[in-house]
Amino acid sequence: MTATSSIDADEIAKFTAMAEEWWDPEGKFKPLHMLNPTRLDYICAQIAAEFDRDLSTAAPFAGLRLLDIGCGGGLLSEPMARLGADVVGADAAERNIPVARIHAEGQGLDIDYRHTTAEDLAAAGETFDVVLNMEVVEHVADPPAYLAACRALLRPGGLMICSTLNRTTKSFALGIVGAEWIMRWLPKGTHDWRRFITPDELFDMLRGAGLEPVDRKGMVFNPLSWSWSLSDRDLSVNYVTASLRPA
């Protein structure tokens, strides 16, 4: 593959080790692995409903072009490719790209991973049926400008799934104090609570960007079952939304 031939063997060994780290369910990215089935359930249900696909078939997302913004090691890109989507994984962190690429190759998955941003892809005129915008918006400097770029990336009738963290005292307690300071699930300073966005603020921003919000759900961690689930009512910490670009 041309993608990996330009880097030397030591680099490949390093990236392979990093890929193993990304994909170790008990490793550094454990919180993401725990959250992943719940995020995927939401994403799959929304795509299936919007594009009228049957999830019990072998490749329900065949024919859909999908962009995963902030793809990291490919935790969402790989499942989407396995379900038949034509996937572009984009990450602003350059070192994530060869890591994700090496892992996908090992899995026999063909995913187009690129070191780029939503803004640059939009400027290049790329368009998609689905844009995954998961746990990114709370990290960007100018959310309205970023969401406008996301809208430009969507084809008319296209679907964007966007998840983030609510700005509540509970999200401060769980997301910052709990996850970063006590559990050490995330490196300290991963999140800046002041940048968290309430669901109403996000809906306003989505509308401002010319998108039509159609659904929102909470993602709730249950410490007894030690697992995540979707909730219609509790959006107080993590939540996920679906919006459409009007046709």
Binding site: P25, L40, A58, A62, A81, A85, V87, Q107, D110
Partner: protein, 417 residues
């Protein structure tokens, strides 16, 4: 199968899941996974014709309602229903050979639960061929007359080697290969085993009077005798004896065997005769340390072989089948790699507690009743009488035995995946 596939997927796998062992659990799992859209391979050392061609040999199973629901959801219950005997009542009593049952008996009646009969007796000669026919209809790849002799796991899947040299690639290998599971051994999963020094002797008996759909469990000091109703004037018995005495009984000819059985069986069903072959199984408990390993999952006896005292062995296996199929089908539908450790952990977490409790409860039950200490006898007679007098406890007991409690897999509620 279409090998070109969609653009994002490179097809390097022969199957999503490869199942080692074509017994009852292995075939049921193959059907359950195929019903959820997974591509399944089934490796079985026996030829399909050998498995399905068996005549009546006396072996039969007490299927819980949950198991019947699963078979219904897999579309094979309609073939079995006509030959199945509903269990309408269960009577548990404490007795001494030759003295009949203790008057303080425990009785359960299906009228106490709304779901109907507490379970069904199904003969092996009907169940096994029905499962194999369904496997054939579902187009599942069958590697028969072959065994998996080696497997290696890597980050993408397993490569299994069969004894004729065939190599098969899959995301996941499932060991449905019994209590000495070679799959578990190769995966480095150890097990704990206890022997009871007891042997279960199984046979089909015909009798003069109808059983009215009632199952009996007589607890004797030597071990329990279970009498389970089959269709017509026939019953299946599980007669448990100390290993040395069982050996002596096994050596008897049929006439002498019946003479030894009569005082234990009693005459409440009229005169008795043998209606099939006699089988003996040494009793023990064998629990794998884990139900999952590196791209390997264990199902049924490979994970937990229990004392067959309450007829829960196959039922527990089919519960594994329902849980594993649900976990894997859900994982595949959200695009996950079904052989990954975190997916298999969901299965293990779902079943482990249930299996450990069942094993310990069955063990405790057997130890309590296989005892001739007069104080224990008094205590358990009083205990049985109490359960009998307390409808709530009795309903709980029936529902547990019928497989209607706990966090049930969808298939065990009769719902498709």
């Amino acid at each position: 199968m279409d090998n070109a596939g969609p653009p994002g997927i490179v097809r390097a796998m022969d199957h999503d899941a490869l199942i080692a062992g074509g017994g009852l659990n292995g075939t049921a799992l193959a059907l359950a996974l195929a019903s959820g859209g997974l591509r399944v391979g089934l490796v079985d050392p026996l030829a399909a014709s050998v498995r399905s061609g068996a005549g009546f040999d006396g072996r039969s199973y007490a299927l819980s309602l949950g198991s019947v629901n699963l078979l219904r959801a897999l579309g094979i219950w309609f073939e079995l229903e006509g030959d199945a005997q509903p269990i309408l009542a269960i009577r548990v009593s404490d007795g001494h050979a030759g003295q009949g049952a203790s008057p303080l008996a425990l009785a359960f009646d299906h009228a106490e639960i709304e779901e109907g009969p507490m379970g069904h007796m199904v003969e092996d000669r009907h169940l096994r061929p029905a499962l194999l026919r369904a496997v054939e209809r579902a187009g599942i790849a069958l590697y028969d007359r072959r065994a998996a002799v080696a497997h290696a796991a890597d980050p993408t899947g397993i490569r299994a080697t069969l004894d004729d040299g065939t190599e098969v690639r899959a995301r996941l290998l499932v060991g449905c290969d019994g209590k000495r599971s070679p799959t578990a051994v190769r995966a480095g999963i150890g097990r704990m085993t206890w022997g009871y020094g007891q042997t279960g002797m199984v046979a089909a008996i015909s009798h003069g009077r109808p059983h009215e759909g009632t199952a009996h469990q007589f607890f004797m000091p030597e071990g329990p005798l279970a009498i389970l109703p089959l269709t017509g004037n026939r019953s299946s018995i599980v007669w448990t004896e100390r290993a040395d005495r069982a050996e002596a009984v096994a050596a008897l000819d049929d006439a002498a065997y019946l003479e030894t059985l009569r005082p234990r069986f009693g005459d409440f069903l009229g005169d008795i005769a043998l209606a099939g072959s006699r089988f003996s199984y040494p009793l023990g408990l064998s629990l794998a340390h884990r139900m999952a390993g590196d791209r390997v999952a264990l199902v049924g006896d490979a994970a937990h072989a229990v004392h067959p005292i309450a007829g829960q062995g196959l039922n527990a296996g089919l519960k594994d089948v329902g849980a594993l199929a649900e976990v894997l089908v859900e994982a595949r539908r959200r695009g996950e790699d079904i052989g990954r450790a975190d997916v298999l952990e969901r299965y293990q977490r779902w079943r482990r507690w249930d299996v450990a409790t069942l094993a310990l409860a069955t063990d405790g039950f057997n130890r309590l009743f296989s005892n001739d200490n007069p104080f224990l006898r008094l205590a358990r007679d009083a205990g049985l009488a109490m359960i009998n007098a307390w409808p709530e406890a009795r309903r709980g007991f029936i529902r547990e035995a019928a497989g209607l409690t706990g966090d049930r897999p969808r298939l065990l509620a009769g719902r498709p995946l």
